[in-house]
């Protein structure tokens, strides 16, 4: 059949046998889940049995794109890496921009599924429907930058996109990232460790194939509408300062995680701000493929002890996790640390978090100089931060323990009460107590563990006051107080926030264009219009919402099958203690259980957080209900 928007091919690579098989997508699943992480969830539901060791050859990893990936949709520069995570043991998806997703499609595939384990290091070169498994022994031990250089030279295509692991992935650091296009990270959850466990050093992709458009004139009209909406996008500074503009904003609003979440303001925030970054170190702004916003930073440090060659980033999360969270106010050192994380292939969020955790352990005497090769680990020590990154990636000294993530390290040190994570995923650089209680809920319930972005910026409704086209679908309006917990329809509202984000994720896009008034951003309605005209498929906006809900429920079922229940939708103790400083002094999470009740009810899940049979039936997921034993 003819595919529009989709390439219409899924590539399966079994590294144990060295075989490549190419299949059309399963049409019924394509209709139900539309693509990207939704379609990948179904493949992993079918293909990875419960309780499989994430780092064994039985696990699979999917490079997933959606129909709008690589199209003219202004947010379509994404791919999602989908897998069962070694960090959390449950569902994980990590989004990355750059050009890899679009180039994978130009090479002929919507999805690349990798399974098994190669007996020697290899990389994949995918071009115009062909897949080559190539020798990579000479690349093992090399950083992402050099790996990318060598591969581009070997394949002879300087425009190809390379997604690679660094030393951290080879050493199966549980939060190792896959880095594409030298500096864009599919960061969270340890996808890089899975590639490392499979001896897969990299995937290179490019091609000359058409992305076919079902109704070109109508599609062009929908893209023009999208461009016009984004001309009015409310975060007008985001292209000027990137996500790093948040440093000053969150600090002023008392929700900038500082000193491992002990404080919500940082007296030296100005010194690590996006404004200063733009003034002193920014070379240029760099956009992902097809993105009209271009929030990406590209910076270097030209002199001094932190000299760093030009590199993507640092983004807000990196700046705060390796900065304020460790009380580090040396922006040049953060740029260096960001470069190292990219080259070693590590998630900057988890890396910053385990370092801050270790600093707190040192302060409390849980870790001593003896544990740290005779060195101290004090708050704000930028040299220690940078040195620890290398140790973690190489699993040397204390790095060996920190490399397994904060949950595992805390168990090792007997410091469980200090560790900040949910489901094993380290808290990122947003403070729920000061930003919004819905964010606290999301940290607890997000499928991949504590996350501010999976599947959406949780606070868009109650802290952002953004309607984003959702009133048509029943969004309560006006939004409730951001610090309210139960009794304000937050479960109902958050369900819609989730579905909005999930639409973006299953279509293969970036969620950054999604927040504003109905005429200021990429709404579900606009996504519906782009999807219909691109693919030629009859799908109403309601059906698009339904597909998103289906996908969100399937991912929940994936975790339920792994044994997760209500008790796992949890927050660290600290979140229930009052903030000691700033404009939100005294605030804390109170009734998470009540919020869970409202959220589960809105989604049609039972008290344990399991989607009921009726809910799954309503979502056309009876096959899933059946294999869950319902």
């Amino acid at each position: 059949m003819d595919y529009f928007g989709y390439m219409g091919k899924v590539c399966h690579v079994d590294l144990t046998t060295g075989t490549v098989s190419i299949e059309p997508p399963v049409e019924r699943d394509l209709q139900r889940f539309l693509g990207c992480s939704g379609y990948a969830a179904k493949m992993l539901w079918d293909g990875v049995r419960a309780k499989v060791d994430p780092l064994s050859d039985k696990n699979k990893i999917v490079f997933a794109t959606g129909p709008l990936t690589g199209s003219l949709c202004p947010s379509g520069g994404s791919y999602e890496l989908c897998f069962k995570s070694p960090l959390t043991g449950v569902w994980c998806q990590a989004r990355s921009g750059g050009a890899f997703g679009p180039r994978l499609k130009k090479a002929g595939f919507d999805h690349l599924v990798v399974e098994g384990k190669s007996d020697r290091p290899v990389y994949l070169w995918i071009r115009n429907g062909n897949v080559e498994i190539r020798e990579a022994s000479h690349l093992w031990g090399k950083g992402v930058e050099q790996t990318t250089d060598v591969i581009l030279q070997e394949i002879g295509d300087p425009d190809a996109s390379v997604a690679a692991i660094g030393v951290a992935g080879e050493n199966q650091v549980h939060f190792a990232a896959v880095i594409n296009d030298r500096g864009r990270a599919a960061g969270r959850g340890g996808g890089g460790a899975i590639l490392g466990s499979k001896n897969l050093k990299a995937v290179a992709a490019n091609g000359t194939l058409d992305l076919k458009v079902a109704e070109p004139e109508a599609f062009i009209k929908s893209i023009q509408k999208a461009e016009e909406a984004l001309d009015k996008y409310p975060f007008e500074n985001i292209n000027q300062f990137g996500t790093s503009l948040l440093v000053n904003i969150l600090n002023a609003n008392g929700c900038l995680p500082t000193r491992y979440f002990q404080y919500s303001t940082f007296d030296k925030a100005e010194e690590i701000s996006g404004e200063l970054l733009a003034e002193k170190y920014l070379i240029k702004r760099r956009a992902c493929y097809g993105c009209s916003m271009g929030c990406g930073r590209y910076s270097s440090v030209d002199e001094g002890k932190w000299q760093t060659p030009p590199q993507d980033g640092p983004e807000y999360e990196t700046i705060n996790m390796l900065g304020a969270l460790c009380l580090n106010s040396d922006l040049a050192s953060i740029i260096k640390a960001n470069y190292l994380c990219n080259d070693l292939g590590m998630d900057t969020i988890s890396a910053g978090s385990v370092i801050a955790f270790a600093m707190e352990c040192f302060e409390k005497g849980i870790l001593t100089k003896k544990d740290l090769d005779g060195e101290e680990l004090r708050w704000g020590d930028s040299e220690a931060v940078v040195a620890l990154l290398e140790k973690i990636a190489q699993r040397r000294g204390i790095g060996k323990i920190l490399a397994d993530g904060v949950r595992s390290a805390a168990a090792h040190f007997g410091a469980d009460t200090i560790a900040l994570h949910s489901k094993g995923m380290e808290l990122p650089a947003h403070e729920p107590r000061g930003e919004s209680k819905t964010l606290g809920l999301q940290y607890a319930v997000s499928h991949r563990g504590a996350c501010h972005m999976h599947p959406n910026w949780a606070s868009t409704w109650d802290a952002g006051n953004f309607e984003s086209g959702l009133r048509e679908f029943g969004m309560p309006w006006p939004p409730a107080d951001k610090f309210a917990e139960t009794g304000h329809q937050k479960g109902v509202a958050y369900r819609l926030v989730v579905l909005q984000g999930e639409i973006v994720e299953i279509l293969g896009c970036c969620v950054f264009h999604s927040w504003g008034a109905a005429d200021q951003c990429l709404t579900p309605q606009l996504y519906g219009e782009m999807l219909r005209t691109l693919t030629g498929r009859e799908i109403t906006n309601q059906e698009l919402m339904l597909a998103a809900e289906r996908s969100w429920n399937l991912k929940r079922c994936f975790n339920v099958r792994e044994g997760l229940r209500r008790k796992d939708d949890a927050l660290p103790e600290l979140m229930f203690k009052p903030l000691p400083d700033g404009p939100n002094k005294g605030l804390h999470m109170k009734d998470l259980q009540g919020m869970l009740d409202e959220y589960y009810e809105a989604l049609g899940w039972d008290k344990e957080g399991i989607p009921t049979r009726e809910t799954l039936k309503k979502l056309d997921l009876e096959d899933i209900a059946k294999s869950l034993g319902q």
Partner: protein, 163 residues
């Protein structure tokens, strides 16, 4: 006055939207390899949009005389329907701005979209501009001068050896 394209690399973020718009307008699909505008990424930090100058060097190269100047827009256009894919125009272009279409084999060359270039309309960064010819000429003189001055600063190894 006639207009022509001018690119300003300092403004380009490397998003490739100009190429995508070019391909959907001319080919009805999205495929930057089929576009007549090209964004080149130079490591480490330059994204460089390259546009056809409409200089007309290619006009004489076509053995079938299928390349002509559009008197209304000033664009140098290829009569694609009759193109025999011989490649002489590609050889003739000193700027590498004519390419073979990887799908249908035709020569691909910028035609200024009949006077309303899509790449310009949709570049939010204003990295490609559609300028009056005399302003564009001024811009090209400045850009060439800047480039030549930068080049003259580089050590010329062969010369110093001879000296």
């Amino acid at each position: 006055m006639l207009k022509t394209l001018v690119a300003i690399p300092e403004r380009c973020t490397g998003c490739h939207r100009c190429e995508m718009w070019c391909s959907i307008r001319h080919k009805g699909v999205i495929n930057i390899e089929r576009a007549a505008v090209h964004v080149i990424r130079q490591l480490p930090s330059i994204d460089d949009p390259r546009v056809c100058l409409q200089c007309g060097i290619c006009i004489d190269s076509c053995p079938k005389d299928l390349i002509t100047r559009n008197k209304k827009t000033g664009a140098v256009e290829i009569d694609k329907g009759k193109c025999t894919h011989c490649g002489y125009c590609i050889l003739s272009c000193p700027y590498g701005m004519i390419t073979f279409d990887p799908v249908d084999g035709h020569a691909v060359k910028c035609d200024l979209c009949g006077g309303q270039p899509e790449c310009v309309k949709h570049c939010r960064e204003e990295a490609i501009l559609y300028m009056d010819a005399d302003k564009a000429a001024r811009h090209r003189r400045d850009a060439n001068s800047k480039r030549d001055r930068q080049e003259s600063k580089k050590p010329n190894i062969r010369q110093s050896k001879a000296g």
